[in-house]
């Protein structure tokens, strides 16, 4: 199937995407509890962004073949959010759902940070922060050349970085490069939850004004509510329609979103829930799911 028709085939409505994102969060909580370690905050922060991208109708993937050459590409630069990516790969059908509970265990395909040799749908090993944007920019340039020389359908490259991650200097080498090369098939989500391991990003080493920084590097910047499917969907549509420069979608997010006692707490960056915390988290998420399905709490 060609790229554009794959994009259209994947499209779901906003309500269904919101339900999918809720189920991804549920999976993340269960996976981390079973693993006994991992990073809940950053996965929960990015769940709506990933779900909306994949089911927006603007991102091409083939549920029957994760290696379909006509697919668009997604790079999880904030590789510690691997659990939400794995949950999405299971949602698509690249992994059996029950395999999610093998996260971080000896011999698993679901390594602590994404491994492209092991997990279907993972394009490149990631997790060492600051490297994804360079890789995505190289991919975007490669697809531009394919389109120019071989008449190939222009494939899009999407990446996501955390906000603490933007302190890594390599991002700015890559941002300069992508801007100067006018890579308008490249879209970067900024997951701006303002938390990193040592505290608030604004306290540790502020990246503000992040939108202005990207604009200064030749990017088009769109603001979005990173937990609102309609807002994200509109931003993605604008981003792919934009020509002449790469696009950053600045997503305001809450680390730990969807689990009240994890929200906006940097202590939940890298610890797994206990069994009791897991139950409370799942109860909250299931109640939210009921509301999404029925419009009321169960």
């Amino acid at each position: 199937m060609a790229t554009e028709s794959m994009r259209r085939a994947a499209a779901r409505d906003d309500a269904e995407i919101a339900r999918i994102a809720n189920r991804l969060r549920r999976d993340v909580v269960e996976m981390l509890t079973a693993a006994g370690s991992g990073h809940p905050g950053g996965s929960l922060s990015a769940a709506d962004i990933l779900a909306t991208l994949f089911y927006s109708g603007e991102f091409a993937f083939d549920p029957a073949d994760p290696k379909n050459p006509a697919r668009d590409r997604f790079v999880l630069s904030k590789g510690h959010a691997a659990p939400v990516l794995y949950a999405l790969m299971a949602q698509i059908g690249y992994l059996p759902h029950e395999e999610l509970l093998t996260l971080r265990q000896m011999g698993t395909r679901l390594q602590g940070h994404p491994d492209s040799h092991l997990c279907p749908g993972v394009e490149v090993c990631s997790g060492s922060l600051g490297q994804g944007l360079s890789i995505a920019a190289g991919m975007a340039l490669g697809f531009k050349l394919d389109a120019a020389h071989e008449g190939a359908e222009l494939r899009r490259v999407f990446a996501i970085t955390g906000d603490g991650e933007l302190q890594e200097g390599q991002n700015w080498e890559a941002a300069m490069f992508a801007g100067n090369h006018g890579l308008d098939n490249l879209v970067l989500f900024l997951d701006l939850n303002n938390l990193q391991i040592d505290g608030h990003v604004s306290d540790v080493n502020s990246i503000a004004p992040i939108q202005d920084k990207f604009r200064a590097f030749g990017w088009h910047v769109i603001d979005a509510d990173g937990h609102d499917v309609a807002s994200l969907r509109a931003a993605i549509a604008q981003a792919v329609a934009h020509t002449g420069s790469p696009v950053a979608i600045a997503c305001s997010t809450v680390k730990g979103k969807g689990v009240s006692f994890m929200e906006d707490r940097c202590s939940w960056h890298g610890v797994a829930p206990t069994a009791e915390e897991c139950e409370r988290a799942l109860a909250e998420l299931d109640a939210a799911y009921e509301k999404l399905v029925n419009g009321t709490e169960a």
Partner: protein, 308 residues
């Protein structure tokens, strides 16, 4: 005619395109020095200059490799392996990408630029990486062969290239394979194992030693990883004593690799000649002589190893 191994780089890239290979090169503001500019002059879309940004150079090369191309990276060896080592480790090697790290200006023969620009740790840095193959060609012809071998063999490679023009050592018909070592001179008393610029120096050292009654074998250990274990062990077994020589730190370089192999599989006394600290400014010839890495210095090292 004397030609630098770096001169083989751009020329070979052009040949690879003409042979039908879908290759690209990514450089970091050194397209003239590394000679990747030759590729860009013939095929502008196949050369990307990221500016002075080696970490991004590796990332962009990785992304291009993920779109189905074989990608060569350049810069100087200090920056092209050191500044971006972790990118090479975690993106290129962990993902097993078709990226060939081929920076130039390795070793003390960089000369006048001095210590900051003389890569003496690059073999060690690359050798330690899982999945990385390491080739150190000795002259222009072997550099061309090494670059072509890297292009034709999937996965990560490091090819160590130098600045200084070197006399022709091999002919144009030189060929090599992965895990290549080559006995370039037969001997019986000591095996001098050398790589890169030191192969020709070791060959001359053997000539100096011959009238003294020392029969030195000379082995070109072009492939530092993987090693040609059979050739190296056979030579060590025959001679019973080994001297290694490289324009690189003795810690972690080719000499270390040979000593590791021999200590496990055929223990013989091994003396390592190379660098133990930073270099300095000077001409390539002056520096090789100063650090005991020219033919006279190697000959002295061999005498010492033999207790003469």
């Amino acid at each position: 005619m004397a030609k630098a191994t770096r001169a083989a780089f751009g020329e070979t890239l052009v040949e690879l395109v003409e042979e039908g290979f879908d290759i690209m090169a990514v450089d970091a503001d050194l397209c003239g020095s590394t000679t990747t500019g030759k590729l860009g002059a013939s095929y502008p879309d196949r050369l990307v200059d990221v500016g002075i940004a080696e970490q991004n150079m590796i990332g962009v090369a990785s992304g291009l490799a993920l779109t189905g191309r074989t990608v060569f990276t350049a810069s100087f060896a200090v920056f092209g392996t050191g500044r971006c080592w972790e990118q090479i480790r975690n993106t290129v090697c962990d993902s097993g990408l078709d990226v060939k790290v081929c920076p130039t200006h390795a070793g003390i023969t960089v000369g006048a630029d001095g210590a900051t620009h003389q890569a003496l740790e690059d073999i060690a840095l690359m050798r330690v990486l899982p999945g990385m193959r390491v080739l150190v060609p000795a002259d222009f012809a072997s550099a061309k062969a090494a670059i072509k071998l890297a292009a034709k063999t999937p996965g990560p490679f490091y090819v160590r290239l130098g600045r200084e023009p070197l006399p022709e050592f091999y002919g144009d018909d030189f060929t090599c394979d992965v895990a290549f070592a080559n006995v370039v001179r037969e001997g019986t008393d000591v095996a001098i194992m050398a790589c890169g610029v030191e192969v020709a120096q070791a060959f001359e050292a053997a000539k100096i030693l011959e009238p003294e009654g020392i029969s030195a074998e000379v082995v070109d250990v072009m492939s530092v990883k993987p090693l040609d274990e059979e050739t190296i062990i056979a030579s060590a077994a025959k001679c019973g004593r080994v001297v290694t020589v490289e324009e690189h730190s003795i810690y972690g370089g080719m000499g270390s690799a040979v000593a590791e192999l021999l200590s496990e599989k055929h223990p013989v006394p091994v003396k390592r000649l190379g660098m133990t600290g930073f270099g300095q400014s000077g001409t390539a010839a002056e520096l090789l002589a100063h650090y005991g890495l020219d033919a006279a210095g190697i000959a002295a090292g061999v005498r010492e190893a033999l207790g003469r």
